[in-house]
């Protein structure tokens, strides 16, 4: 069928358009010379060495990992609790709560950044990893809550009734029955929150300080001026993390099915 050929060709083009540019970053990290060259003049790992030797780059990577872990932990705990709470609400209160949670998704990030930066400045909290983690939690929380909410809705409500009827306290019933069954949704949320935080640029740029600078912020600073392949190394690390995260979430989904 001619149609099928056209469709396949078109899909291949779109797929290439979406993936290849991103992948183009990777070879740039292996360029031997001091300029970014695609394809590289000569292949070398010297810029990887340079990356890990440079204190500011190293620190930014560590900061990113710290903030992302903290944000993921906060998002998951708060988001799961919120999902449990919202499940019990009804009527206009529920709508209001949902609207509040949807807020950070709808409001443009730049507005969130400026607003939070202004507030943080006035209380001297700019440039702390804690502030960064809280800001990232704000972004990821709605998604986690929604994700867990979907898992919760898919649960048979009678399971909880069975558990309480057999004498379990609400916490015991949650721990032994509900949580194991929504775990894939929770872990998926955790992975998502981690990556969201790790990838986050705008909020981080505004809230960063000399002591607290994430990897994206460092990259942002570099590429606005002049950049060497070290930036491509940083970008490749970010891509590698994203790939690892997608793989992890695939594994989780397969366990769920």
């Amino acid at each position: 069928m001619a149609g099928r050929v056209v469709l396949s060709a078109f899909s291949a083009l779109v797929g290439a358009f979406l993936l290849l540019p991103i992948l183009a970053v990777v070879p740039a990290a292996f360029n031997g010379s001091s300029f970014i060259r695609l394809p590289p003049d000569n292949w070398s790992v010297r810029w990887w060495g340079a990356f890990f030797a440079d204190q500011t780059w190293r620190r930014s990577l560590v900061t990113s990992l710290q903030v992302a872990t903290l944000a993921a932990a906060l998002s998951v705990v708060l988001g799961t609790a919120a999902a449990l709470g919202i499940e019990r609400l009804g009527g206009w209160v529920r709508q209001l709560a949902l609207a509040l949670f949807v807020g950070p998704v709808i409001v443009p990030v730049i507005v969130l950044a400026v607003a939070l930066y202004s507030l943080a400045r006035s209380v001297g909290l700019v440039g702390t990893t804690t502030m960064l983690a809280i800001a990232h939690t704000m972004l990821a929380l709605p998604y986690v809550a929604l994700n867990v909410g979907v898992s919760l809705a898919a649960l048979d409500p009678r399971l909880r009734l069975a558990a309480t009827g057999l004498g379990a306290s609400p916490w015991h019933a949650f721990r032994t029955v509900t949580l194991p069954l929504i775990m894939p949704g929770v872990i998926g949320g955790a992975v998502f929150a981690f990556v969201t935080s790790f990838d986050e640029v705008v909020l981080s740029v505004f809230l960063a300080g000399p002591q607290a600078k994430t990897l994206p912020v460092r990259i942002w600073e570099e590429i606005r001026v002049e950049y060497t392949p070290i930036v491509a190394v940083a970008a490749t690390i970010m891509i590698a993390l994203a790939v690892a995260a997608v793989a992890a979430s695939r594994v989780i989904q397969r366990r769920d099915a």
């Binding site: 899909s11 970053v25 509040l100 709808i106 409001v107 443009p108 607003a115 704000m138 990838d199 994203a242």
Partner: protein, 275 residues
């Protein structure tokens, strides 16, 4: 008893959202109204000054163009997703979903690498003799649009795919069985039935592109300033908080207005599900 438990469950999340979302926004509103020149002065400046109006126009134009392009490319892609089978389908899905996990910064940076004067595209064109000297592919409208389309395409494809996949294949068979040609089936059956999905996609992409910061900032030139870049300028360079606040609230207001209008055609809650 139930009430207390529910409140305790929601409290921490509400606290975080309160101090990191509601409070800052409220404060920003107040700031925007506290210019020494008067409460509405910054707003008047923004809406009155030609330069700022042009920024608003630029931003809207980008958003409209990017939305249109992503819809045109995205719909057939979504359709392909419903028709392809096996590994081809899996690959296309991966190509659409994987970029969503990668930072917008990295995705934009990749276009910087590709479009720069010494980049592969220019060198390829030079190599095959299509051009004599490298052309400026970067720091202009086209670059911004390409970059934004690249980043936002998945957000357009997914809602449209969700709508298309829900269409009962029996409809297509019925249309063909009744003698309709492909274009007719497309026009009379597929497009109307996926209209909700198209509307959702358009809303999502428009919303995102209107507030976009990173991509236009890195790929655009001096004459392609968007509203978000203007806000950044007010904060980082002018240190004019009243103007920054006012511009932010104008952006927010426009966004909310758009959501409200679109909300009559599209379930806003759907947007959050796409991710």
């Amino acid at each position: 008893m139930m009430r207390v438990g529910t409140a305790l469950l929601l409290a921490p999340a509400l606290l975080v959202l309160g101090i990191s979302f509601l409070l800052p926004l409220g404060r920003l509103l107040v700031l925007s109204l506290s210019s020494p020149a008067g409460a509405i002065a910054p707003y008047a400046t923004l809406l009155g000054d030609d330069i700022y109006r042009k920024v608003f126009w630029n931003t809207s134009l980008f958003a409209v163009v990017v939305t249109a392009i992503t819809l045109v490319i995205g719909w057939p892609t979504a359709f392909a997703l419903t028709r392809l089978r096996g590994s081809a389908r899996a690959l296309l899905f991966a190509a659409i979903l994987a970029p969503l996990w990668i930072s917008v910064l990295v995705r934009t940076f990749s276009w910087m690498l590709l479009l720069e004067t010494n980049g592969p595209i220019n060198r390829a064109l030079l190599g095959i003799g299509a051009i004599r000297a490298p052309i400026a592919l970067l720091f202009n409208n086209a670059a911004v649009i390409i970059g934004m389309v690249h980043v936002l395409l998945p957000y357009a494809v997914l809602p449209m795919y969700a709508a298309l996949v829900r269409i009962d294949p029996a409809f297509l068979k019925a249309s063909e069985g009744l003698g309709a040609s492909w274009p007719t089936t497309l026009r009379q059956v597929l497009l109307p039935l996926s209209a909700q999905g198209i509307a959702t996609a358009a809303t999502f992409v428009f919303l995102l592109s209107f507030g976009f910061f990173i991509t236009p900032a890195l790929l655009g030139g001096a004459s392609n300033i968007t509203l978000s870049m203007l806000i950044d300028h007010f904060v980082s360079e002018r240190l004019d908080w009243a103007l920054a606040g006012a511009a932010s609230l104008v952006l927010l207001g426009a966004t909310l207005a758009f959501v409200a209008i679109a909300g009559r055609f599209v379930r806003v809650a759907r947007l959050i599900e796409v991710r």
